[in-house]
Subunit: 346 residues, 3 copies
């Protein structure tokens, strides 16, 4: 059988520290992508629903939602980074820079910044820094991500582990802001809520209304839209239980969309500090969402505040705010623990 | 638990006669919405499928389907009007004015025009008049709607019921027409049928070909596209039977799309007189459709006729045109009874 | 019952040799259609994902994928040609001419070029040549197709069979090429693979990575997008087994998208020689894909090569390249056998 033309993806041994990987499949984002995003998440943050609202607060066009950009850049990297991944372990220092407008074409590149072989000899952890660019070569997003990747052989390489340093949480000053935004023209009628930075208290918890039963079709359609090629989302033969694992990013976007209810004015995600997919999700699960206010900050830009938020998705109704057990392990009902910074007027 | 930031929606007690409610989440409609509409309904009315056809009959752009506009405006109102609704009871005097083109941004406002407490003390009926506007503040749609809304307490308010007056059916003269349309350039090859106003007879019944099995995914995707937030469509825990109720508007659009077969030239909906969702629909139901010609009218505009149509959707094949039993209750197989006016050349 | 307005489609007796049929429902294709195509197939051929890539290799715009154009033109023809079809038997000499860009409006017409009554008296085979045009009346696609169509009566017509002549396979010289394409500017980093025409060997087989479980929702959404009205795809009552048959074109597009893995640079389909849907597909089937290189050709245009490929879709993993049994019947696991020409740089 002549199979060598079909890309099998990189195994742990194929990654070298300092490797620069230019990802393929540049992608022009359009209003078609926007409509599909809304049809799957029903996201209601006004800047991404209304070109008029976006313009009024200073966007130079009708931006695509920040998480859509994140998923699209992430999708570029899958064939090169995580095609043979066992698990997507985490990300850090996710920074959003220039917004993406319809017609913009996204490319992505990654650099290998850390490698750690597992002692079982079967796998290792690969750390990469990924950057996304638009067609003008402007940086639109940058993030660190680490994944557990299969080895092609079980021979121990025995190389010294190199673990990159990164911040558990970006300090407010390190969070990128969009200097064109003018929050003095913010229309609280249209945005859906009256709350500004001043109305939130550190430690405050917000239970977002609603709850959503996840379906097979929606997560598959949207994960394909990002051209994420990880087989486990699409093929029932890839897991022993015959289930198709839902892409973790799907849960992030669903949780974020539901967080509108109580955080309607925290419209723009500026940075993600960390994210944990604490338990897998499958079709049929019904999720509920709550947020905790972790920090507040007033930037130097007029009326431009930042909220640091912890966003939790859980299977079943929110009856307690407990997330972990006494051993610091996530409770079995918790599926997402996301820590991020968002813009909000003050 | 600090929950107060999450919007719980208005209860019956929260509505006051004369209240003006400015709905949030303005929405720019695009060709992405058009494609999703076609992917869910396979609608084939030529003006909404072909920019060339639309232009030739006088549209000033490539319009989005009238029912898509209706659902989008309706979606704006749900968080404010019907989030705590028990049932969507009816609508009347739905009038379509200026068409919506890709790039137009829709806003909506409603006025409380009637209130009637139910004698059980648990709920009441709220009547609203809703208007939709584009970004130039031109009126695109206006309609009356009434819903049964939960009360927050079971204490009887005992206020006098105020029931607004509205027409059971708009007379042909009161139906808005689009004066830019020129039906002398109508291409009957491209539209799909040769029938004009003259070919229809009052009382004539048309069984539309086909029949469609409803799926969970399609109604959920499209209802989210309209950002309709009613929980009962999305969350299996919201009904005792664990089923997700299909948004009534989904049935209207599906029925309308199938009515192409026999009414291909009745392309533009000008007004809806009334609509009843006689029985609920769920995933797995297979629907069939027929129409009755209720009235015909020649407007003052050249070649511009109006057909008044009754559109019925039923579970199971159409074997009889009976809709109601001897007690004037809908038969259990009838799911939609819609009365509307549409434009047609003559 | 007054049913005559609803189109019942043509039966075998309704076709006459030489009939010219102008299909209805012109369709303006947009970036919304592109996004839906990607969300269903996750297709990654760079010219159709990136406006920048497309421009760089000489496209005069951001083209819609060739198979999307094929399905769209095919969809136009269903109400007139195959509404009463028992089976879609085959197609030949499918030639792709001018590319379709967002905003282009597609129309289609067919000519009856052959008729053969079946001896059972119940059906006959109709051969048509279909052409698709854009709004400038430029030819975008042309193909021959034959279908088995029901008769309205079982009386034998007894007319002499007329079977048109067509080529089992287009010779490389007869394959339309796009003279604006310039493959010297081809970016192999962005396209995803380094292979050019020179790297492929006649007889070489490529097993494409992955494998996909088919879902009900995706095939229904995309088949509706093409406005293909064949009832058997949408209504569970149309087949005795209660299953909804998946549109054969869905399998073609899925197979083609997966063939990216090993054929990333064979981006543009220029012609389809033949296609057989060897066995029906239903929701729940898991498909795998492989290709065989049948021929290679260097055109007169600079760096512009052609690959003739056989693309196979099978239920279950590819463990052998056997397609047919000793009696030349397809094995039960084979669902698609497609023979086509694609452009590739050299």
């Amino acid at each position: 059988m002549t199979q060598e033309k079909s890309n099998k993806g990189r195994f742990f041994e194929d990654f070298q520290l300092g490797d620069a990987i230019y990802h393929s499949t540049p992608r022009t984002m359009t209003d078609g992508d926007r409509s599909l995003y809304i049809s799957v998440y029903s996201s209601r943050f006004a800047s991404y629903c209304s070109s008029q609202f976006a313009k009024k607060i200073g966007f130079q066009g009708f931006p695509l939602e920040d998480l859509a950009v994140f998923h699209m850049v992430f999708g570029r990297t899958v064939p090169d980074i995580s095609f043979n991944a066992i698990a997507n372990l985490g990300y850090a220092e996710v920074k959003f820079f220039d917004p993406v407008f319809p017609g913009d074409t996204i490319t992505a590149e990654s650099k290998v910044i850390g490698l750690k072989e597992n002692s079982n000899g079967k796998s290792g952890i690969v750390y990469v820094e990924t950057k996304g660019f638009n067609q003008k070569n402007e940086l639109i997003i940058k993030f660190i991500r680490w994944v557990m990747v299969r080895k092609s052989s079980s021979k121990l390489l025995g190389k010294k582990a190199i673990i990159p340093s990164f911040k558990d949480c970006l300090s407010a000053k390190d969070v990128p802001t969009n200097s064109t935004l003018k929050f003095d023209k913010f229309d609280y009628h249209l945005s859906g809520e009256n709350f500004t930075l001043n109305d939130y208290t550190i430690g405050e918890k917000i239970v977002h209304g609603g709850g959503i039963t996840l379906d097979e079709s929606e997560h598959i359609l949207i994960t394909r839209l990002w051209q994420n090629t990880s087989l486990v989302h699409f093929n029932v033969n890839e897991r022993r239980d015959g289930k198709r694992l839902i892409y973790g990013g799907h849960i992030i976007s669903m949780a974020r969309a539901y967080s509108f209810n109580g955080l309607a004015n925290a419209q723009v995600i500026n940075a993600i500090n960390s994210g944990t997919h604490a338990n897998p999700c499958f079709s049929g699960d019904t999720l509920y969402f709550w947020s905790e206010v972790l920090d507040k900050y007033k930037t130097d830009l007029p009326n431009y505040g930042l909220l640091r938020l912890r966003l939790i998705a859980s299977k079943g109704k929110v009856e307690t705010f407990e997330i972990k057990d006494d051993n610091e392990n996530y409770n079995s009902n918790i599926v997402l623990d996301l820590d991020y910074w968002a813009s909000i007027p003050y």
